[in-house]
Every structure is written in structure tokens, then in C-alpha cells.
């Protein structure tokens, strides 16, 4: 904003380097680009292999050397969806657990983050670190008490118990993230808006939302992914009714004979929601994974 007044004082070196990220030694440039491509492809290869194998017949999937150009078929997917136990109940359970726990996390974390940033309570740093410290405790230490509690209250194999656990699993992350976004809400503008007579709805929409909405998106993405991926607690606390998709996957590899194409189809279907969400919001992923400290 003040650049017009400053242009005269900008050092000459800065205006000359219009392209600061230009490689210094042009000769190594193509080689480094090639290296980046090769490494990227190597990391991507197992995913490609999973998708390719899922579209092969079982016989073609189990060849050595690999039959890369074998004819494509959706046999694996048909077998996965209609062959044995239906994958739909576990997939729906995972969806329910992930979405409901994410909503609960948002409902609890946004007010808490508000009380730790915009109108901070006393000793707000202690509270913030209490939340982070719960993330460091090994979850396995809470597994037995939760199991015994579920057993005595008849909540075993109930999706609501998992939802409760996933909420507690993600709440510390969400509090840290939402705080890092709320701290950027311009407090002076909030006051100016109220002085100018803007209503609460209008203040929320035009001052708070632009800063907070990206934070809510990043938080939701991370909470959804972590809940969707969780295996240990889902395995111990659920059985046939509330079974989630990861648990279904582990019980899937008991069949005899060739199953690789079907397994790859199953792995791909279960990973698809996370892949789609993660690819669609790559920048949100970084913000979320670093607890909002990288923006």
C-alpha cells in the first residue's frame, strides 16, 4: 500500500533481480528438473500400480514379470462390491463417523480458539499447551478404559463411541489451527464495524468470514482425513454393525486363492475420498498438517 512512497528508496539490486528464483548455474537446471520428475514418478508409482492392478483380471495381476499391458476389466470392483460381504455399510459408517466428529470438533474448537485468541483468557498459553500435550500421550493408553467403559454401558460396536473418540483425537489439532487463523482477525476492524453500526451478521460476513473460512476448511479437511484413516480404536471398539472401512479392509485378506486385483480395487475405493479431498485442497493440507503454523 505504501509502495508508491517507497519506490525511490528501493535498492537497485532488488529491481534488477526480477526473477530471484532463477537457477544460478543454467547447465545443472535440466538435470535437476529431470531428477525432480524421476523422484516424483517413483513416489507416484505404487499408487499407479494399485490403480492399474485393480483394473486387471486376477490371473493377470499375479504374473511375474508384471503384465503391465494386460486387458483392462472391472471384475475386481464387481467382486469387491458384490462378491462377499457388502462394503457399503463400513463405507457409510466411516463417512458418518468422519463427518459427524468433524462437525463436533468445529463446534467445540471455534469457541475455544476464540477464547484463546481474540478475547484471551488468563494463562491462555498454558491452556493451549495442555491441548497439545494430550496429542502426545499414546492413544493406546486410553484404549482399555474406553473398551471397559463401552462394555459396561453397552456401547461396544456403536458408531457414537467412535465419533466421541475421534472428536477428542482431533480437537487439540483443531484448537491450535483455528487459533492460528482467528489471531489474524483484524480486531480494530471489528470495533470499527460496530462503531459504524454494522450488525453482527454483517460483521461476521465481511470481516470475520474471509479470515476464518479458510481455517475452517483446512481444519475440516485434516479432521476428516484422520478420522477416516483411524484403525486401532475402530478395530477394538467395533464388530459387525459399526465396522469402519479400514477395519473392513484388514478383514478382507482372509480369502484363499488370487485376490490381488480385488484387494487393489478395495484399497483404491477406500482411499478415494481422501485422495480427492487432499488433491482438491493441497494448500489447506499443508496448513492443517503443520497445525496452522505454515500458511
Amino acid at each position: 500500500m505504501t509502495s508508491t512512497t517507497e519506490t525511490g528508496t528501493v535498492p537497485a539490486t532488488r529491481t534488477e533481480t526480477g526473477e530471484p528464483r532463477r537457477p544460478r548455474k543454467p547447465r545443472s537446471g535440466p538435470l535437476l528438473s529431470l531428477a525432480a520428475w524421476v523422484i516424483g514418478l517413483l513416489f507416484f508409482l505404487p499408487v499407479v500400480w494399485m490403480v492399474l492392478t485393480s483394473f486387471h483380471s486376477e490371473a493377470d495381476a499375479a504374473t511375474n514379470p508384471p503384465a503391465v499391458f494386460a486387458p483392462l476389466t472391472i471384475e475386481g470392483y464387481r467382486e469387491f462390491f458384490t462378491g462377499g460381504a457388502s462394503p457399503w455399510p463400513p463405507l457409510l459408517n466411516s463417512l458418518t463417523a468422519s463427518i459427524v466428529s468433524t462437525i463436533l470438533v468445529l463446534l467445540l474448537s471455534i469457541p475455544a480458539a476464540y477464547a484463546l485468541s481474540i478475547k484471551p483468557v488468563k494463562k491462555w498459553t498454558d491452556v493451549l499447551f495442555f491441548f497439545l500435550s494430550t496429542k502426545m500421550l499414546p492413544v493406546v493408553a486410553g484404549l482399555l478404559p474406553l473398551y471397559l467403559f463401552a462394555q459396561s454401558t453397552g456401547l461396544l460396536d456403536n458408531i457414537w463411541l467412535l465419533i466421541l473418540f475421534y472428536t477428542s483425537m482431533n480437537l487439540p489439532i483443531a484448537v491450535w489451527m483455528m487459533r492460528s487463523f482467528l489471531i489474524e482477525v483484524p480486531v480494530e476492524m471489528l470495533e470499527a464495524a460496530s462503531v459504524d453500526g454494522a450488525g453482527l451478521a454483517r460483521t461476521l460476513r465481511s470481516v470475520v468470514a474471509p479470515v476464518v473460512m479458510p481455517g475452517i476448511a483446512a481444519t475440516s479437511l485434516i479432521c476428516f482425513i484422520f478420522s477416516w484413516n483411524e484403525l486401532l480404536f475402530a478395530r477394538v471398539l467395533t464388530a459387525t454393525v459399526a465396522e469402519t472401512a479400514p477395519v473392513f479392509l484388514t478383514s478382507f485378506v482372509t480369502s484363499q486363492g488370487l485376490f490381488l486385483a480385488q484387494l487393489c480395487a478395495a484399497a483404491f475405493v477406500v482411499s478415494l475420498p481422501v485422495l480427492v479431498a487432499g488433491f482438491a485442497a493441497q494448500d489447506k493440507l499443508v496448513q492443517g498438517l503443520s497445525l496452522g503454523s505454515v500458511k
Partner: protein, 319 residues
């Protein structure tokens, strides 16, 4: 940290004339939004631990319901002298340290490669993220059956194909998981965690003050000097953040150990060992004692880790 808090307090000064009672009401008004989350966390994470602590002093095996009673320190003595538990501790340390260090180094290298402009940079970045977005159980199954399998896995398939190129019918066909069970798990996890480290370090690299680096370049600093004296110090907090968050998640890993080796061949880490004591052996007392020992060890390590975060945090708040 306190600076930021004071600044905010100054911006919204409380009325001087307010009585003590009104101020107390105001304080509670500030605390109210925090309470639901705080109470929820205490109930769901701290209460179970108290229960674990109580059970750890009890003789309680679900197979022998008549023998439930007070056990004193017996469970702790058994946990601390148990060879399997000690091995599990060592496995956990080895697994966590290897995965975090290797993926940090790989992530750093790849982040440096991606911090340049080249054709298809966005595509390479997207491909690099993919491993992190595969559901961990699915990734473990993929590595176990589609890549490591000695008969039809991709690795041995590629070896057959490579040897075939040179006319050999006798390619090596190692049984990857039996030959190196722990390394099989480590590599599968490194594949998933390198993208995570890369993303954080890349974000760090892109926050570098480029004009200062350009100035150093004009003054004749070599690429290596710039890397060791400017880039690495700048990246230090991002390396620490990646290492800390990676450790938090990898130390708790259950999915890969459970799927790839089922804890066999000396790969049982602490989460798996405790899971087994409780889920298969139904020895609630001993599982709880092990959990208590792990929690105490974690608190000691986490105290150091939290110190790292709080220095990071102070820098952030001081900005």
C-alpha cells in the same frame, strides 16, 4: 508470548470503574467459550488415564474373572523385566527414528528440487503428495501384497524383467518381508511420510527472504555457502516442526506393523505389544502397567519436545 496478550488487552481495555464483581463476571464471560472443549478433553483423555493407573495396580485377566484383586507393583515388575516389552521399546525407538530421519532427509532433498521453476512443477508436487493421501491400512496392504510379495509383487517382477533384458532366466527373488521385516515396515512408512516432510519444508523454503539471498549471491557466496549459512538456519524451525509432528504420529503407528508383519519377526512396537497384551492375552493389569510406563516415558520426552514448540511459538508470537 505475553507481549501479544498485553497488546490485545490494551486494545480492549476494561472499564476502570467496573466493580470486582463485574470484572469476575467478565472473566467468566471470557472463559465460557473455552469450557466445553476443555471439559470434554479432560473427561475423554484424562479420566481414562486415571482408570488405567488404577487397573495397572490390579491383578485382572479377563480369562480368570475370579482372581481380580490388588496386585501392588507386580504388573510393573513384570513389564519392566519382560524381554518382549524391552524389545518393543527398542523397536519403537528404531522405527520412529529411522522413519522420521529418512523421510526428513528425503523430504528436504525433494523440497529443494521443487523450490525451482521447471516444466510440470505442479504435476510433480501433486504426484509427490499422493502417497500421504492413501489410507494407511490400504498403503500397508498395497506394500505387503502388491510390492513385497516374493511371487507376484512388483519389486520381484521388476527384477525378473530387468534380468530378462540381459537374457538371464535366473533373477534374484528375495522374500523382502522375511529378510528385513523391520526395514519393510520402515520403507512403507518412509514412502508415506516423505511427502509430509516435503510439504512443510517446501512451505519453509518459499518463506525465505529472497532479496537477502540474492544479495549474498551478488557478494560472491557459493550455492553451498548459501545453503549451509542461510537456507538451513532458516529451515531449522521447519525441520524441528516436521520432526516433532512426524514423531508424534510414527511413534503411535499401529496400522503398518499390524498389517505387514502382524508384529511378528521382532517388529512389535509398543502400541502393538500393548494392543496384544490387552486384546489377545486379555491381561488387563499388565497392559495397563505397560501403558502407564509408556505414558511416563512419553511425558519425559514430550517435555523436551514441548520446549522446542514453545520456542517456535515465541518466535511466531513475537512477529
Amino acid at each position: 508470548m505475553t507481549l501479544a496478550a498485553e497488546k490485545i488487552d490494551q486494545e480492549r481495555p476494561e472499564p476502570r470503574s467496573a466493580s470486582a464483581g463485574a470484572r469476575r463476571t467478565a472473566n467468566w464471560g471470557r472463559r465460557a467459550p473455552l469450557l466445553p472443549a476443555l471439559i470434554f478433553m479432560i473427561v475423554v483423555t484424562q479420566l481414562p488415564f486415571v482408570v488405567t493407573l488404577v487397573i495397572s495396580f490390579m491383578n485382572w485377566n479377563a480369562y480368570y474373572p475370579d482372581e481380580i484383586g490388588f496386585a501392588g507393583f507386580d504388573n510393573f515388575a513384570r513389564v519392566l523385566t519382560d524381554v518382549n516389552m524391552r524389545e518393543a521399546v527398542w523397536t519403537t525407538v528404531l522405527l520412529t527414528a529411522s522413519v522420521v530421519l529418512i523421510s526428513l532427509l528425503l523430504g528436504l532433498g525433494i523440497a529443494l528440487l521443487l523450490d525451482r521453476k521447471f516444466l510440470g512443477r505442479g504435476a510433480v508436487r501433486t504426484m509427490m503428495i499422493a502417497p500421504f493421501l492413501v489410507v494407511p491400512v490400504a498403503a500397508a496392504l498395497l506394500w505387503k501384497h502388491a510390492l513385497y510379495n516374493p511371487e507376484y509383487g512388483l519389486f520381484n517382477g521388476a527384477l525378473t524383467w530387468l534380468w530378462g533384458l540381459f537374457g538371464s532366466n535366473n533373477p534374484p527373488q528375495p522374500d523382502w518381508i522375511s529378510n528385513g521385516p523391520l526395514w519393510s515396515i520402515i520403507f512403507a512408512l518412509v514412502w508415506q511420510w516423505t511427502p509430509f516432510m516435503m510439504l512443510i519444508l517446501l512451505a519453509g523454503l518459499q518463506g525465505r527472504p529472497l532479496d537477502v539471498i540474492e544479495a549474498a549471491r551478488i557478494d560472491g557466496a557459493t550455492t553451498w555457502q548459501i545453503f549451509t549459512h542461510m537456507t538451513l538456519p532458516h529451515l531449522r524451525q521447519y525441520l524441528e516442526l516436521g520432526g516433532l509432528l512426524g514423531s508424534i504420529y510414527v511413534v503411535q503407528n499401529f496400522d503398518a506393523v499390524f498389517t505387514i508383519t502382524s508384529g511378528g519377526l521382532g517388529t512389535a512396537n509398543l502400541p502393538y505389544a500393548i494392543y496384544q497384551t490387552f486384546y489377545n492375552a486379555h491381561d488387563y493389569g499388565r497392559a495397563s502397567a505397560a501403558a502407564v510406563v509408556v505414558v511416563i516415558a512419553t511425558i519425559i520426552i514430550a517435555t523436551f519436545a514441548l520446549r522446542t514448540v514453545s520456542t517456535l511459538f515465541r518466535q511466531e508470537a513475537g512477529r
